[in-house]
């Protein structure tokens, strides 16, 4: 694997510094060079890397570290702690509304995993939170997007609200919320079409859906393999519609997933779930510490 060498190098530096009885500024600098390299190779955005390295360096050459009995171990710990902290610290739970129904919007770039995650989320909310979800087919653009969601609904024996491709997504969402009320379905999950963050017309469509009934969650669904551009995507989606959280998909792959850190840093919105496979039970709560280790290759 391409990252093996990197991981070894990083662990090498970490081990070296860990074993030291005394750590000076040059040691820290040397280690931070390796950390910077590791983070960039893990797809953490360059600007985010810079800030991070600066912050950690300041802490690491602080007097308390230098004077401690195990300065090397302290420095390694700082790197991981800071990364975990940046990742959001504690696990964050999903929000439900007191006013029925709870509305959840799934948004993101093309192919990120919105439709699949809609199904997984509905399944999880039913099983773990005893909710009655309604899946809403609001992607009228992608070929067979509606059939895809309908198939998923059938697999899960969950209702899917669809009106074909002639009605506007905003109208579909409006009717779906009404339908949920009359059918006593307490959670509406709206699957929207994939779109570029720079597509103004389609971003407006999301604003219009959002205006129907303030969603309790707007999840930005992000492919964990995303590179440097992740910050642009997240910033634009957040600025346009105000996301409430992030779902990181395809983490069953072997990507380092540095995009997670970038997105978290620029939006300050929590990563709430991770997708761990294509099947409908492959959605898990997010663990900041595990993600920190993964990005560093430790």
């Amino acid at each position: 694997m391409a990252f093996e060498g990197l991981s070894e190098r990083l662990q090498g530096t970490m081990t070296k510094i860990k074993g030291k009885g005394k750590v000076n500024e040059a040691d820290v600098k040397e280690m931070m060079r390796e950390v910077r390299f590791a983070l960039i190779e893990a797809d953490v955005n360059l600007k985010v890397v810079k800030e991070f390295v600066k912050k950690v360096s300041e802490r690491a050459i602080g007097q308390d570290v230098m004077d401690s009995l195990t300065p090397g171990q302290q420095v390694v710990k700082i790197v991981k702690d800071e990364l975990t902290e940046l990742m959001g610290g504690e696990e964050r739970k999903i929000e439900f509304s007191s006013k029925q129904p709870t509305v959840i919007m799934m948004v993101g770039l093309q192919g990120a995993g919105k439709t699949t995650t809609s199904g997984k989320l509905a399944n999880l909310l039913r099983r773990k939170h005893n909710r009655k979800p309604l899946l809403v087919a609001a992607d009228v653009y992608r070929p067979a997007a509606i059939q895809q969601l309908e198939t998923i609904g059938k697999q899960l024996s969950l209702p899917v609200f669809s009106k074909g491709t002639d009605m506007s997504p905003v109208e579909i969402a409006r009717q779906a919320i009404e339908h949920a009320k009359t059918e006593h379905l307490d959670t509406v999950i709206i699957d929207t079409a994939g779109r570029l963050h720079v597509d103004e017309a389609l971003m407006q469509e999301l604003k219009d859906i959002r205006a129907l009934k303030e969603p309790d969650e707007i999840f930005l669904v992000v492919d964990s393999m995303t590179g440097q551009d992740a910050v642009n995507v997240a910033q634009n989606f957040d600025a346009a519609i105000g996301i409430t959280g992030v779902v990181l998909t395809k983490l069953d792959g072997d990507t380092r997933g540095g995009a997670a850190l970038s997105i978290r840093t620029v939006t300050q919105k929590p990563i709430k779930f991770v997708g761990m496979g294509e099947k409908m039970d492959a959605l898990e709560a997010f663990h900041p510490e595990r993600m920190a280790s993964r990005i560093l290759g430790m």
Partner: protein, 293 residues
């Protein structure tokens, strides 16, 4: 505009621009070393003259001594094209676009619905088939993809079509079972027609970062990838990693995807691509500098 000097600051900026285009550390460092040397040798003084030098070097790195090969390897009789890649990168959409393109060139085209796994995948390919006006060979969801391919190759041969394009399910390269399944699909095709598939196109998403290198490595091992289609270049991502992939693995990019419509596919142009990696970034830096003055 007044152009700045080509100094160490300039190189650092360029390095950052390329890293932010996902080119990757190794390749960027290699490039920067060669560029410093080249700039010195040619005595390039300001940034207005350095752009062409950068372009040249990037194309050099991209090609690594190989000839430009973005043509599809059409053979006499039936040409089989297998499209592979990880989940959601744009395989099925690209197949629709390719079919449209080949049909416009006067070829008869057939599609094989080899993704029998993902919900709605067969229907999706079917819609593309209807849009383009070509036949789609399919079986029911959940059936063996190798069996679909066998069927498709047989029908394509008996109907005398020129091109058969085979869709496959998205799979992450670290899933051994799924990669074995892909190998089997590949084998079934070669058994029916020696030398086929004539092209194996790996679809890569331009928004993907460094993981695309591992994707290319693994898919190449399993299916003998002959070319890359770089999709979603209509966004703000630059797809810099394919530069490193071509340099290291010698896989050429054949097409780029620039949208979701039938016509949004273009043959790869190395010059244009490398220019996109850095020029806009340099301009932006220049504007910032100018504004500072």
């Amino acid at each position: 505009a007044k152009y700045r000097k080509v100094d160490e600051d300039f190189f650092e900026e360029l390095e950052e621009i390329l890293l932010q285009a996902d080119v990757g550390f190794e390749t960027v460092i290699e490039l920067m070393d060669e560029l410093r040397y080249e700039v010195q040798r040619k005595n390039v003084r300001d940034t207005s003259n350095v752009q062409s030098v950068i372009s040249e070097k990037l194309v050099d790195i991209y090609q690594a001594g190989e000839a430009e090969t973005n043509e599809i390897n059409f053979v006499d009789g039936l040409t089989v094209i297998l499209v592979v890649g990880v989940n959601g990168v744009g395989k099925t959409t690209t197949i629709g676009k390719l079919a449209h393109r080949f049909k416009n060139e006067g070829k008869t085209v057939m599609l094989a619905a080899g993704d029998t796994f993902r919900a709605g995948a067969i229907e999706q390919l079917d819609v593309w088939g209807q849009r383009v006006g070509v036949d789609v060979i399919k079986q029911s969801e959940g059936s063996d993809p190798a069996a679909v391919m066998y069927d498709a190759v047989r029908s394509a041969k008996s109907r005398g079509v020129d091109v058969l394009i085979c869709d496959t399910a998205g799979r992450l390269q670290n899933k051994v079972n799924l990669m074995n399944e892909l190998q089997k699909v590949h084998r079934v095709i070669s058994r029916e027609i020696p030398g086929a598939p004539h092209e194996v196109l790996l679809t890569l998403d331009a928004t993907t970062g460094q993981n695309a290198m591992i994707q290319a490595q693994t898919f190449k091992e399993v299916t003998d990838v002959t070319g890359i289609v770089l999709t979603k270049l209509d966004g703000t991502a630059k797809g810099g990693i394919v530069l490193a992939i071509r340099n290291k693995l010698k896989i050429p990019v054949k097409y780029v995807g620039l949208g979701e419509k039938l016509d949004d596919l273009q043959p790869f142009d190395a010059q244009k691509y490398v220019y996109g990696l850095f020029a806009e970034g340099l301009d932006k830096e220049q504007q910032l500098e100018d504004a500072d003055k």
